[in-house]
Symmetry: C2
Subunit: 203 residues, 2 copies
């Protein structure tokens, strides 16, 4: 398909506008939660009318899914090749991601904590997203720990399925402690120290 | 103060009514979250008018605080003497509490997961409650692990402050995994297995 320069310009503008709305949504939802945060608040923060937001995202559910998808894309980019390499490389990349979340996008971490808890309810629009995501990430981390065990780097007596569950639980749980007390909790330091207890080599 | 039999009857009825409203609130808030759950829904579920609920709890904030206080009282009763004894006895009692939450009051566990995540936002009415509660519980668990270390029952290299943070993070994090997949996750089993890795004696 041949696209005229002006159509391409329109497309680029639309992509940028969507990004701006997503950034505004992250800020609004992370403070108010998904249920209380309104499209009107998102529009106001993005400097648009509500109709302007609805042009790009027909409903709040569409918007929150776009936020989650965008975050996943960011994470996938950050993990990069480590996902293919697996083993300790993957575990280390996950720790790096937690570190980046904590230092660079705390408001996104807050949104994620709220949404993942709210969405445990079956009627929440993001329920299936999170249920599938937990299953998928758990599987990936378990595979990584199986590689680690095979290399002889997992502490005797630790099973890869447990290690995977524990690592994910630790990320979620430390995140909540950090959100309540950002000055006294360093998620990355605590997570690394915990993971080190599962390993026979340096993380 | 001398209270007439009829006044005492009124008092008992009022206490019972408050309990019924709290039970209804737990059900409503655990499904809808605190922000979306309304006093009208709570009234409906309790078989009362909204004015009837407002007579006992002047606002939604009063009601949610009553729910949290009630849950703390239940927990304190369940822990009982173990809090005074400390050490492994206290850690075991905490595990017993997690087990009871999972098996007997899953809807309350769900409410708690949602509220503790929502309330990370400073503007949430339960923010101070949770911030104080995390600090307090962390302190109590750390003291217990210090007793355990002193008895020579903590694995070498594990520090009590870390062990306390990890245990709380594990409870919160496993709870989320369990809420997404109740059939495949047993919080208590996973928590016990994790705690065992920190100890040199049987939990």
């Amino acid at each position: 398909m041949v696209t005229s320069p002006s159509a391409r310009g329109e497309y680029t503008k639309s992509v940028e506008r969507r990004r701006e709305i997503i950034a505004a949504a992250v800020e609004v939802f992370s403070v108010a939660g998904f249920h209380k945060g309104s499209l009107r608040d998102v529009a106001k923060r993005a400097g648009l009318t509500q109709a302007g937001v609805l042009h790009h995202f027909p409903s709040k559910n569409h918007l929150v899914k776009a936020v989650l998808t965008w975050r996943d894309e960011q994470a996938r980019e950050a993990i990069g090749d480590a996902a293919r390499v697996g083993g300790l490389t993957y575990i280390r990349a996950m720790v790096g991601l937690v570190d980046a979340n904590q230092r660079e996008t705390p408001e996104l971490a807050e949104l994620y904590a709220v949404l993942s808890a709210e969405a445990t309810s079956h009627s929440h629009p993001a329920h299936d997203y999170f249920a599938e995501r937990y299953a998928w990430v758990l599987d990936a981390v378990q595979t990584a720990f199986e590689d680690v065990a095979e290399a002889g780097h997992l502490r005797p007596g630790v099973d890869p399925p447990d290690a995977a569950r524990w690592m994910l639980a630790m990320v979620d749980g430390l995140q909540i402690q950090w959100l309540y007390s950002r000055k006294s909790v360093d998620m990355t330091v605590e997570l690394r120290r915990f993971l080190q207890t599962l390993l026979t080599v340096d993380l």
